[in-house]
């Protein structure tokens, strides 16, 4: 009790964390519970590294994509290291964007196209594309498009797409890269993860081990309350949040652009997991995880069980 170590990644979805840091919300809620909490923030890149940090006991709370989370949950279920979701970082769509005017739907892709995404086959984006392919081409055809996908980190993929001088013609992207890409008139949206998963999706989660919560109930509660407050605050103070983001990340982005990204009507800052169970089912279908969760509540701490999650 009294110490919490939090690891975050890069991106606008982590704005609630920046707010918690900036406004010392965890400390505030700790005091309310009569606890002096020491908060340590770390920044890593990549879900695998985040999971390693959690498993090695170097952090208590981690933020990463749904893919790495579900994998970790599946592998640690029933062990001392079992992990569960504290809350989502917010609902945000992933767009498939292209600079090929002929592509209106994913059926229009040809062998000449290359779709960039992080980690072919295994990233969230890759799974979204596979689900979309299943919907478009029929059951068992989820790997239809895999042959024209190519692994490329978001920044490079965006640069390649914008420059138009490489083989990359499409990119299953992420904020704020997709917003930057769509600012270019030559680039248009082919689909959104919301279409594929039938509604808003929270692609990134904050999670911790069951043991941490059991051993540090007050610290956990302080974090949860702070997280909830920050998330609600961001959802209602987009322009201040954008300023905090720019400051915290020492970003060179125009604060107005960040505010626009945060204010996208599709974006909602909420703790409630959305669209996650469909995703988990798909992973179970293709045997990427061994356990098929009966409900999204299986892998979420009970603080959120009364919410309308999915």
């Amino acid at each position: 009790e009294g110490t919490i170590r939090i690891v975050e990644q890069f991106g606008t979805l982590y704005t609630p964390f920046h707010v918690m840091k900036e406004q010392k919300l965890v400390e505030k809620h700790g005091k309310a519970l009569g606890l002096d909490i020491k908060v340590e923030w770390a920044k890593l890149s990549g879900g695998s590294a985040v999971n390693d940090a959690l498993l090695s006991g170097n952090v208590d709370v981690a933020g990463a994509g749904i893919g790495p989370f579900l994998t970790l949950w599946d592998r640690t279920r029933g062990t001392a290291q079992e992990v569960k979701i504290i809350g989502a970082l917010g609902a945000q769509p992933n767009y498939l964007v292209t600079n090929n005017p002929n592509v209106k739907t994913i059926k229009d892709f040809t062998k000449a196209d290359k779709i960039a995404l992080p980690a072919v086959g295994v990233s969230v984006q890759a799974r979204v594309l596979q689900i979309a392919a299943q919907q478009a081409f029929g059951p068992g055809k989820e790997k239809q498009l895999d042959d024209i996908t190519i692994t490329l980190p978001h920044p490079d993929a965006t640069a390649a797409l914008l420059s138009g001088s490489t083989e990359i013609t499409a990119h299953l992207s992420n904020a704020p890269f997709q917003d930057q890409a769509l600012a270019d008139p030559k680039i248009h949206k082919v689909l959104s993860s919301y279409d594929v998963l039938g509604g808003p999706v929270t692609p990134t989660f904050v999670y911790s081990t069951v043991r941490f919560k059991a051993e540090n109930p007050k610290t956990y509660k302080a974090f949860f309350d702070a997280f909830r407050e920050a998330t609600a605050w961001v959802d209602t103070h987009k322009s201040e949040a954008a300023a905090i983001y720019v400051k915290a990340e020492k970003s060179k982005l125009d604060p107005a652009f960040v505010e626009k990204v945060l204010s996208d009507p599709d974006v909602k800052y909420t703790l409630t997991p959305l669209g996650s169970q469909k995703f988990a089912n798909f992973l179970a279908d293709i045997k990427a995880i061994k356990t098929r969760p009966a409900s999204w509540k299986d892998y979420t701490f009970d603080d959120l069980h009364n919410d309308q999650g999915s």
């Binding site: 695998s48 999971n51 290291q81 072919v120 086959g121 990233s123 692994t151 490489t166 083989e167 990427a288």
Partner: protein
């Protein structure tokens, strides 16, 4: 005369040693000592992993061995490894040839040497990530880009080692070569290369290792359209799926290949050349 009859009896002599089985004799055999060392390392690994008891981060040796067999059987890990080795050898060979040409130019022409030293100092510290945009733009995202990154990772360190080797060749041996009228490429091939072989070999070993490091890192980014993919991709995929024993199996595959290359190929070359010639102890 018979006592100095070098060369001819070599093979026979070795076979005799190999035939006997006393422990002291066996111990004198490099392969045996290496096996003992490897067994010791495996034991340390096993104990450390059992003690840590954190299989998702650090699987035991036995789990890894099982995963290795399983991956080799049903996942085609060895084919992935073979695919990686082919690409790697291609990049490695290009880099070595390129480096030797540059270094030969550098020993012949002072200005080329300045250029080479400047380029090496500039590009050697750059990580592969730096080349990504240029590779995409000029070479696309296929094997060519992967080769570019491989060449980059091998070229500069090998050129450094080779240049240093060439520059250390004893003056008298240089003079002998030039005295016989050797110039240009034949001077390099017939004098500098054999005389600098110890440094060249150390450069080759370093280059080989870095080719692997880079290949595994780069397969995450380049040329992986989902169907195929080499050992790096296998490791990355396993890591993403938190199949740590398979990650370690993939790395063990890299280690095994490294050991084979070192103990079979490089040792063989060394025994036949620098050790035999007294250029190295």
């Amino acid at each position: 005369m018979s006592e100095l009859d070098l060369g001819a009896a070599t093979g026979l002599h070795r076979r005799t040693v190999r035939g006997s089985l006393s422990p002291a004799r066996l111990w004198r055999h490099t392969g045996v000592r290496r096996l003992v060392i490897l067994a010791g390392l495996a034991a340390i690994w096993q104990v450390a992993a059992l003690w840590q008891n954190n299989p998702l981060l650090f699987p035991t040796f036995t789990d890894t061995a099982l995963a290795f067999i399983e991956a080799a059987r049903s996942e085609g890990m060895l084919w992935s490894a073979l695919a990686s080795v082919f690409v790697l050898l291609k990049g490695y060979a290009i880099a070595i040839v390129l480096a030797l040409v540059l270094v030969s130019g550098a020993v012949a022409i002072p200005f080329v040497r300045d250029v080479l030293q400047t380029l090496t100092a500039m590009f050697n510290p750059l990580p592969a990530i730096a080349l990504l945009p240029l590779a995409m733009m000029w070479l696309g995202l296929g094997e060519k880009a992967l080769l570019l990154v491989l060449v980059h990772s091998v070229l500069w360190p090998f050129a450094l080692a080779a240049l240093s080797g060439f520059e250390q060749v004893p003056e008298t041996q240089r003079l002998v070569g030039r005295n016989y009228g050797l110039r240009g490429p034949s001077y390099v091939v017939r004098i500098l290369l054999p005389a600098a072989l110890p440094s060249i070999l150390s450069g080759l070993k370093i280059g080989w290792a870095f080719a692997w490091r880079t290949l595994i890192a780069a397969e995450l980014v380049f040329g992986v359209s989902s169907s195929q993919g080499g050992l790096g991709w296998f490791i990355y995929r396993s890591r993403n799926e938190l199949l740590t024993d398979r990650v370690f199996a993939g790395l063990a595959c890299v280690i095994l290949i490294g050991l084979v290359v070192e103990m079979v190929i490089f040792r063989f070359i060394e025994r036949r050349t620098v050790l035999r010639w007294g250029l190295q102890r």
